[in-house]
């Protein structure tokens, strides 16, 4: 596609349920990033992929969070046993390569845990 696509755009889930968030990066982009943005706050780095490997998982808040990327394309961010504090917008970005700076962002997934 022309840009980074994220789905769903909105997700409301009950506390304790698992959720999966999807990101389709721009074709040919080897670097992929996930961020979390709470209401009125800045972007919190979660994880970075170069190709299919994740050299830096340091931003994942807890072991309830995991992410994978397959075929140097689509990535999924999974949150298990969701908590209310997980409510936020989850943003995905891709760039041509980690050495080429410009990152292209998707519209985000707004997650609400009730």
């Amino acid at each position: 596609g022309a840009g980074v696509s994220q789905s769903p755009s909105n997700k409301v889930t009950e506390k304790g349920k698992d959720v999966e968030l999807r990101c389709d990066p721009i074709s040919g982009h080897t670097a992929l990033y996930w961020y979390r943005q709470r209401l009125g706050q800045g972007l919190e780095f979660l994880i970075y992929f170069q190709g299919n490997s994740a050299p830096d998982k340091s931003g994942l808040p807890s072991d309830r969070f995991s992410a994978e990327r397959t075929g140097e394309s689509v990535s999924t961010l999974t949150i298990q046993r969701t908590q209310q504090e997980d409510s936020a917008v989850y943003l995905c970005a891709s760039s041509l390569d980690r050495l080429v700076g410009e990152a292209f962002f998707g519209q985000g997934t707004r997650l609400t845990v009730v």
């Binding site: 780095f45 970005a93 985000g108």
Partner: protein, 110 residues
């Protein structure tokens, strides 16, 4: 620890004036620095990238400076317009991580 600090949370200016935003960083040695714009409910959009060997870069009404000695970048919006109202984020790459400042929200009054 590494920090990216933007000068203020909010900046209100009159249309036609120049908005100047500051980004300071500590414990980074970036090869380049980036500025993004974020509108409410949307993802950030890339505006400009400036490399460590560049002192200044311009794009239309935007100007960015980069001082690696001061560890600071200034972002200027000249002849501001109400459509420039948004949150502006600076970003740095260290190792693999593209990290962002908290942003400065600019409101341009007509």
């Amino acid at each position: 620890s590494q920090k990216i600090e933007q000068n203020s949370e909010a900046l209100n200016i009159q249309e036609g004036k120049t908005a100047t935003l500051t980004c300071n960083y500590t414990n980074y040695s970036p090869a380049y620095l980036q500025w993004y714009r974020q509108d409410p409910g949307r993802g950030p959009v890339f505006l400009l990238l400036i490399r460590e060997n560049e002192k200044e870069k311009r794009k239309e009404r935007l100007k960015v400076t980069f001082d690696t000695t001061l560890k600071q970048s200034l972002f200027h919006i000249t002849a501001s317009q109400p459509a420039d109202s948004a949150t502006y984020l600076c970003a740095l790459t260290a190792d693999y991580k593209l990290s962002f400042g908290a942003g400065t929200t600019v409101t341009v009054r007509a």
